[in-house]
Amino acid sequence: MTRRTAAILGGSGYTGGELLRLLLRHPGIEVVGVTSQGHAGEPVHRAHPNLRGATTLDFLPRDKLPDADVIFSCTPHTEAMAVVPNLMRDGRVVVDLSADFRLRDPAAYERWYGTPHTAAHLLPEAVYGLPETRRAAVKGARLISGVGCFATATNLALLPLARAGLLEGARVVVDGKIGSSAAGAEVNAAGMHSERSRSHRLYAATSHRHAAEVEQETGARVHASVHTVELVRGVLSTCHILLPGPAPDEKTLWKAYRAQYQDEPFVRIVKERAGTHRGPDPNLVAGSNFADVSFHAEAGDGPGRIVATCALDNLVKGAAGSAVQSMNVALGLPETDGLGQIPLHPV
């Protein structure tokens, strides 16, 4: 089977490292190069110690990106939109891990990212890289956007309810808990271990960027907040759906979630009645492309509530994993190729 070639632009950050970890063990892909302005000339394992011995690649200077069938761009938000258009070639798939091509509406982008979109002409063609909501569109895509990690956990928790019409007339609050790697590898005071360890606080009381992504993918208008918790990898999104009337019974919810996810390779319904681990827990999916979802109906007097949660690894299903999964779909490769990692337990 002839392998396809892949290269990574700006691969010294956490997302770049995850793309390498997945692609280096992908049966259908050969990684032909990874660039990094800051680490040019250094061995990859200098920035990604877990990759020692897995590759002999060195980081290339930014302007030495080799040609490849698939290009992953890890250039940060607002810079990517200047870079990505130059990467586009016929017959090539470009996957942009930044937020620049996630929102189809350039006005929403400008509102939440504070700067006008300079490549808005590509937005109609860009496909949001979440196969669980856009598999058909990803198939033929030339430009695929990465996904937001918190938005993806929220989308996957809410999707079955949205599709079953159970969000109608409801007000939705999304309370996120997220690990420190989501803030990226860049050094900053708040990220110091001695300050960040065991810190549990509201990091963003309102989080419109993610809310915009959620509304685009599931149609749900949400009030989002994000907390820091004692995790490096992992995000847990807890969605509180305040219903206009009584809550449906849990059988109805089982049907809605099964209908949406029974054939999905990476979304698992985790709702156990016994044992220690009964619901989604980011600690139990770390390093894998799994997204675990669950749901609870709260009856009681007065209008009811549904609580839906989703746990995933912000660097895998919330970034590099969905990117590789989307690449598989776009290239016509088996969707699970390179994404079979089993998570650790105990961990």
């Binding site: 997220i178 803030a183 990226g184 708040a190 963003a204 994000v226 912000n314």
Partner: protein, 62 residues
Amino acid sequence: MSQTILETAPLECPECAARLAITPTLAGEVLDCRGCGAELEVVSLTPLLVQLAPHAEEDWGE
């Protein structure tokens, strides 16, 4: 940027409405509100006008 114009009421912080006990001496001076820690820039002395100094949003990254 909301501004507080001092006519009669004592100087009030534009962010948290706490009363500012200190009396600024220079235009352009920056003082901290004891109530909420907001940095306030003295825009003018007569009338006494303060406004919120721009503050760094938390770098949310992702």
